[in-house]
Amino acid sequence: MRSFPNPQWLWQHRRTLPSILSEAGRLLSEITSELEHRGWSDRDIFAVQLAVEEALVNAIKHGNRSDPGKTVTVSCWLSEDLFRIEIEDQGDGFDPATVPDPTSPERLEEPTGRGIMLMRTFMTKVTYNAKGNAVVLEKRRSTSDQ
């Protein structure tokens, strides 16, 4: 999967993380700080935090199966009104279309399976690559009347 950085990006960041969740937490704090610094609303920041955390946890736990020998590559871009992040793990990938609907009555008592749905709800766009081991999340900045 390729992303094409836009010349209007105000902030860009690329990092390779070990498959350790505390590392994901540190990256998430940096992203949050950058959004706060640019004056993004609390609601938008909440949405980005939630979705990015779910994607990072998926990459580390489900993609790399917390294997310390595998890494997660993260690239972020931030413009005045768009946040984009690409997260790629070294796992075998999966088909997001096969993930069952966690809101169906027969699945409500299942403890897992809600992360992708929350990402899709809180972000403007969520796209997986064909292999299913990389995801691009985009959040368009809300206007004041949203």
Binding site: L21, L28, E53, P102, T103, L108, E110, P111, R114
Partner: protein
């Protein structure tokens, strides 16, 4: 309040417990595991008929913790016990609504109401 738990404070009430999250967010997987282990310890230690989870401090709810709450409710109900959530912030309520769990969980705006209703139903089931 019980000082022995890292993630949860416990207030005993007759027949149950009220739980409060100490910190506003739990991200790390090991922390969510600890959170789950503390919950299991609390259930074993206090043997509550009713659990009221006051989420007033919770500003962020990753699905790892949501999973623990779902598992807790299923477990309690299998044992004829009950769980209610109270003081849920709007952003957390939105997560529960999106996950279609806002009606699956018993949610009360106020802790006192949740305690009164859960304890009353616990008393009724023990009398029947």
């Amino acid at each position: 309040m019980n000082p022995f738990f890292r993630h949860l404070e416990v207030r005993q009430i007759p027949g149950g417990v009220v739980l409060y999250c100490v910190r506003p967010r739990i991200l790390d997987n090991s922390e969510s595991q600890e959170f789950g282990e503390e919950l299991r310890d609390i259930l074993r230690l206090f043997q509550p008929q009713a659990v009221v989870f006051n989420l007033r401090n919770v500003v962020f709810l990753p699905t790892a913790v949501l999973s623990i709450l779902v598992t807790l409710k299923v477990r309690l109900e299998k044992e004829g016990k009950s769980l209610a959530l109270t003081n849920v912030r709007p952003e957390i309520l939105e997560i529960l609504r999106i996950a279609a769990l806002d009606r699956w969980f018993q949610i009360f705006p106020d802790e006192a109401d949740a305690v009164a209703i859960l304890l009353s139903s616990a008393a009724q089931s023990s009398n029947s």
